[in-house]
């Protein structure tokens, strides 16, 4: 088996995720040039993969804004709390007369609906509009502009505010 053929076969075995066959393996073990080829191929591929994947992870960290609770969910939870409070008030059993021998316990305050937020914030929470975010510097790089973008693809989100980069359509470019 020639070195060129052995290296070609080894490359093919890497592409097909299989171990080199017996004859090829023997050649790779015995030939210094082919051994170096095998070592470099595996090491450089591993290092390159690690470097690129590290870059992808860094990009995801850069692009991951903290998820904010959506106003719709807050409003739903609030309504649920109101409904639960009203139901518990209606279904409360009538108070039994206290036995005369025991001292009278202090009366517990009547339970009403529990509001988790300030009532003054209700119009804001119940509206679907979120307060406008501060705009970044127009000269800032694109990554700065994309920092506030959410990770979810929802149609109800405002369109991304991008700087004035040159735009073109598919028709123009074809």
């Amino acid at each position: 088996m020639t070195c060129d053929r052995a290296q070609r076969e080894f490359s093919r075995s890497l592409d097909e995720d299989r171990a080199p066959a017996g004859l090829l393996s023997a050649h790779l073990d015995g030939c210094e040039s082919c051994r170096a080829f095998r070592e470099v191929s595996v090491r450089i591929a591993g290092g390159y993969r690690g470097e690129v994947r590290r870059g992808i992870r860094a990009l995801r960290r850069l692009e991951s804004p903290r998820r904010r609770p959506r106003p719709v969910w807050i409003a739903a939870l609030l309504l649920l709390g109101l409904a639960g409070g009203l139901a518990s008030r209606r279904s409360a059993p009538p108070e039994a007369p206290a036995p005369l021998a025991t001292p009278a316990a202090p009366a517990a305050p009547a339970r009403g609906p529990v509001l988790l937020v300030d009532e003054r914030d209700l119009p804001l929470l119940l509206s679907s509009e979120s307060p406008p975010a501060p705009r970044p510097d127009p000269e800032a790089p694109l990554s700065e502009w994309m920092r506030g973008l959410p990770t979810r693809l929802s149609e109800d989100l405002p369109p991304p505010r991008l700087p004035d980069l040159p735009r073109f359509s598919l028709e123009e470019s074809s």
Partner: protein, 181 residues
């Protein structure tokens, strides 16, 4: 809202075509296309991010056309590749904007680095010509099979295997050259 399980394979989620499942696919794969464009076309990183953004929009619009006959990631990369080529064509016709497709500045080789140094490995691979670098990236980083790469690049599988072999030969040669005093 999506009540589907988010544990399925990419292809299962993609075939459902619902918004929630697509959001999960986005969370799994975001950043991959930008990195592919950056590595395959040596583009500026901001331009690569913009291309990825456009590619996700296109993928979302055409999500019902994905039939599952090939890996979802290969389908996504095909969209990103078309977007990148459109950018390249535009850049050739129009005066190139400074931030678009600027060749990556390769740092000078540092002889003190070890072979395992990831930056050095990436620098060596980025020294390959584009027609060898792109299939090498798709095979080594994204684990696409030669068949999937061939479909993506619209080339015969034998050509892809040949290019992968020549990429490895060229890498071995570059490493040998760097090792020379």
């Amino acid at each position: 809202m999506c009540f589907h399980s988010d544990q399925g394979a990419d292809e299962t989620l993609a075939r459902r075509s619902c918004r929630g499942c697509f959001t999960r696919l986005y969370e799994r794969h975001r950043g991959t296309m930008a990195r592919y464009v950056r590595e395959a076309f040596l583009s500026d990183f901001d331009a690569a991010l913009e291309i990825e953004d456009e590619a996700w929009k296109k993928a979302f619009e055409h999500r019902r056309e994905y039939a599952g006959e090939r890996p979802f990631r290969a389908w996504l990369l095909a969209i990103a590749r078309n977007q990148a080529l459109n950018h390249l064509r535009h850049a050739r016709r129009a005066p190139p904007p400074p931030e678009l497709l600027r060749p990556a500045e390769l740092p000078p080789p540092d002889r003190a680095e070890s072979l395992e140094s990831q930056e050095r490995c990436a620098r060596i691979v980025r020294g390959l010509p584009g027609h060898l670098r792109e299939p090498f990236f798709l095979r080594v980083v994204l684990d696409l099979s030669p068949g999937d790469i061939a479909r993506l690049l619209r080339l015969p599988v034998s050509t892809i295997r040949g290019r992968l072999f020549r990429a490895r030969k060229a890498i071995a040669e570059l490493v040998r050259e760097e090792a020379r005093p």
